[in-house]
Amino acid sequence: MKFKADMHIHSVLSPCGDIEMSPSAIVATAKARGMDIIGLTDHNSTLNADVTRRLGEKAGLHVLMGAEVTTREEVHCLAFMPTTEKLAEFQAFLDSKVVFFENDVDKFGFQLVVDEEENVLDQVPHLLINALDLPMLELQQKVYQMGGIFIPAHIDRPTFSLSSQLGFVPSGLKYHAMELSYYCKRDGYKFLETHPWFSDLNFIQSSDAHYVEDIAKIHSVLEMPFFSFDNFRDALRQGEPVIL
């Protein structure tokens, strides 16, 4: 079976995420645009992921619970956890790596933890877009050790990407796929021509949506017998480059 997936979406928990990006709006929009699977990936935090998964379950949309982690090298990486228990453990791990810098709501925006009905439950006090004191390799090893999924984000971008910060894929780094941004497709995948050392990796493509209108503006297609976290991970690993 083929599954359409947009694995990189920010909610109101990300300071840069639009105030309209509630878990319920994300699920409804992704479903309406034909997605079968989405990833909820706020900056350095997973606190809206489980509520999004629950809403997805009711709506018939698979939600992978994760975060977009900013490593010490300032490389953005997507990390997904298989269960709510692992997610809580992973959240504690992220919290232990925070370099505290207070969020200025006027400058950066709200960082809201919400429930299924869009009620605000909490606000995260520290600025979530700051880098954690966490080397990328340590993050990758932690995610693998916890049975998760690790995907360096938007590697074609000139900022906060594996290519911009580290130049090339470090030897010894494991990953389940690399993510290309919407811009890479828009530019006719020129990045892969100018960076041939990146060109033979397994890719997904995601919207990196911060606004409702951007949800599912680009997606990946993954082949698996039925949806499960393990099948999804396997589909990433064995997949041909998902460029279409």
Binding site: P135, L137, P158, S163, Q165, L166, G167, P170, G172
Partner: protein, 109 residues
């Protein structure tokens, strides 16, 4: 000016004493490795706060004799090992990038 002289004048900690007699006439300061890959020149000393092993890999690729890590940064273990394998002189300054650049500029301008 040699790497050895720079170590003495800038009071740097040396973690891998190689290339000490290499002649240095310029330096490049950047924390974006893609930028260094594209724009640094052979023979330059590289000033950065990144402590990832890709730094030493790119220094080797670009034929740069030494890397100065600023603000008492601690190289990752595999970065230090890689510096040894690739013969890159790994140096650490207690100063921040601005001070290191200013002092080095005065020395080799």
């Amino acid at each position: 000016m040699t790497v050895k002289e720079i170590i003495e004048k800038l009071d740097l900690k040396c973690l891998n004493p190689v290339n000490l007699d290499a002649d240095v006439t310029s330096a490049y300061a950047s924390d974006l490795l893609s930028d260094v890959m594209g724009n640094a020149r052979s023979g330059q000393v590289w000033i950065t706060m990144q402590t990832h092993k890709n730094v030493t890999a790119i220094a080797s690729l670009k034929d740069m004799p030494a890397v100065i890590i600023v603000r008492d940064g601690v190289p990752d273990d595999d970065m230090l090992q890689h510096a040894k394998d690739e013969d890159i002189c790994l140096l650490v300054s207690k100063d921040a990038t601005f001070q290191v650049c200013g002092k080095l500029y005065d020395l080799i301008k």
